[in-house]
Symmetry: C2
Subunit: 450 residues, 2 copies
Amino acid sequence: MIGISFFLGASFGRDEGKWAEYLGETKPRLAEAAGWVRENAAGDKSGFGWYNLPDQNTEELKKISAWLSGYDAIIHVGIGGSALGNLMLHQALLPMYLNERAEHPHFYLADNPDPEKAAAIWERVKGSRVALVGVSKSGATAETMSQFLWFRSKMKDSGVNPDENTLVITDPKGGVFRSFAGTVKCRSLEIPPSVGGRYSVLSNCGLISAAALGADTTKLLAGAASMRKFIETAGSDANPALTLAAIHRFHELNGRPMAVLMPYSNRMETFSEWFAQLWGESVGKDGKGTTPVRALGAIDQHSQVQLYTAGPDDKLYTLINIASRREEITLPQVDEESLVSLAYLSGQRLGEMLGYEAQSTAAALVKAGRPVVWIELDKLNEESLGALIFFYEYVTAVTGHLMGINPFDQPGVEQGKHYTYGLMGRGEYSGDAKEAGEYFGLIKKSEIKA
Amino acid sequence: MIGISFFLGASFGRDEGKWAEYLGETKPRLAEAAGWVRENAAGDKSGFGWYNLPDQNTEELKKISAWLSGYDAIIHVGIGGSALGNLMLHQALLPMYLNERAEHPHFYLADNPDPEKAAAIWERVKGSRVALVGVSKSGATAETMSQFLWFRSKMKDSGVNPDENTLVITDPKGGVFRSFAGTVKCRSLEIPPSVGGRYSVLSNCGLISAAALGADTTKLLAGAASMRKFIETAGSDANPALTLAAIHRFHELNGRPMAVLMPYSNRMETFSEWFAQLWGESVGKDGKGTTPVRALGAIDQHSQVQLYTAGPDDKLYTLINIASRREEITLPQVDEESLVSLAYLSGQRLGEMLGYEAQSTAAALVKAGRPVVWIELDKLNEESLGALIFFYEYVTAVTGHLMGINPFDQPGVEQGKHYTYGLMGRGEYSGDAKEAGEYFGLIKKSEIKA
């Protein structure tokens, strides 16, 4: 017990009665799900490795992140699970605008194979001491490897030995990246084979850059361990992670195909992106799955709340509030005559106002009969974030299990990959290129000239 | 005609037959909608002002943006429609990482009343020459005014005369901000009364910072004018903007409550956010409206495409591709033995690969029976972006009209505002504070301690 506490609350709108019934029916299944996670994790079964990450040995991570922290710039090449977690940890834990400060390396995420972004990154870093970090479990991800090879060639062209300045994070035994690392003798770290990309933020994949930039990864893992212990000891009746999984499944079954995550903190903006990847790729299968919708409070009150309160009743809303923020701002006395209608702002605290806005949005949603989940962290720090990450990984896995799908695979992404290989001219995929052309041709195009 | 061309294509999955029937039935309504926009815009009716923005006089904008461009830093305070458009234009039109360069002012958007963000902004800019830009039509927006007042007090505290370094953008006649500007004699620009916040990107609201940072706003407006002309002269039968509105409404009626927008360009990431605000607040009314879902290609292939192809058939997908990018990257020859399986990447062009990925995702979605809209810009520049902005404003307004709702109001956001006022202790809203507490209390909370 390390002092994380948070509230999880839920209202059910017009389905209050149905929920009690569903929960009653589902209890045995929840107990079974808890056992399913625990036993498979104990056997380190494929996909379940995230459950054991709080216990990992971080000696190598510490050594290599210390080395990395000495650079002027880090180019981190990865996509999806190999990218989002890093940004999420940076945003939540490091000072804002860290990237522009001198004390730590500047961090550049080359996640999209967009030549304009990649070229802009190189333009920024060239001439400084640059470390290249490549993250891919297999080393076969085209988006990642293409950029990795290009940045590598730019390093060579500028007279730097890339191998001395490269780190790859990959499978401990197999794959292109592993054999590459062995051949060129660059630094490497492992992604445990039982950990999938979207569950990898608490592995070397996600921790490396956060550690190099100054986040306390030991505390992050301690937070996750603490949540795991809470979940294991709560019993399936009083386990809010199991309850939340049941809530998600219940609303999916009751005609709500969307799950909105709306934290009230700029530091958690990327947390919603991370959640969206974890959730969408885990539960979107066999014609099932709710769609994650990213929102940010209070900004989206001026963007999405009109739709949320007055549009269709087709979403489950989760609001996350932070009780005590790292900084508070007290507003000045409003004494100008022309601003008299704003006098009510005098002496108010901005963070407190943000909390009132979160409560007001929750109340307005409840009034409109919409289902709301409320999560409140005392503080947003390494411990509570580690706990919340673990909590959501658990909720996602259990929700998938309740749906009867495998929350750890992603068969649906292969088709597009094969089409791309084919269009890029790989001989063995020429049939895919043809098929891609046929399906793409079904999109009837009309030209607009203006 | 200034040489913008783009393709708009659509496939209808399993609803191909139904669509032809719907379009036939809806044609008279589309013709009526086209007239509705044109006539109301001609009368400068409330809400329709966006249609006339291409004709605005930009003399004041140019003068004031030139003044603004001489500062070290701009703090832009606004939320929703007074904020997103600026970011969208910067990202699409300015060089990446502009913010860290010296030639132009650094731009800081204070859109969220999050004390951690506001404090971080001040920490970054203090000591440099700072301009404060406040954007609110009424001057009553609590999130904006609170931060405006705080930054103003910080400027005073640091010995600067804030009034000489402040610009407000607001209603030409009424509201707190207008009387404030008159009293303190700071610079001001107008938001035309007939232009709503979410349709304001091509007004002073959105153009000011883009102009100060170096975008060519004349070309942006020319692009919008060109699209308007195309729409006006196309006739309702061959007008793809009307067709796209019908497509959106058709899929809403056929059980698809989500509209995904997925551009394949980092420069358009914020365009999706802007669209989400425009769309959600315009069409989410009377229990109707589809939910905008923001995606980014190719990144979301590793996040959302599993769900898109294998989850429920409950979305309309719009992919936006750029035929010719500002930069292209040619990948190096892959000659290392350990990388032989990546030899297919040798000499490939990264932007071309990104285009193949867009096509592959579209083809995979079509194969899965999902409805796809394909938009392709020759280039992403001022003209094409201006055209695309106008196009989507038109599509949004017409879709709302087809739904039978008013696409220019936002009554659903008032409830939350009143609750917040009440919780902040404004006497006249004490009944709201009580009601907020009651509804919030319906969220049953259980404590987690870990």
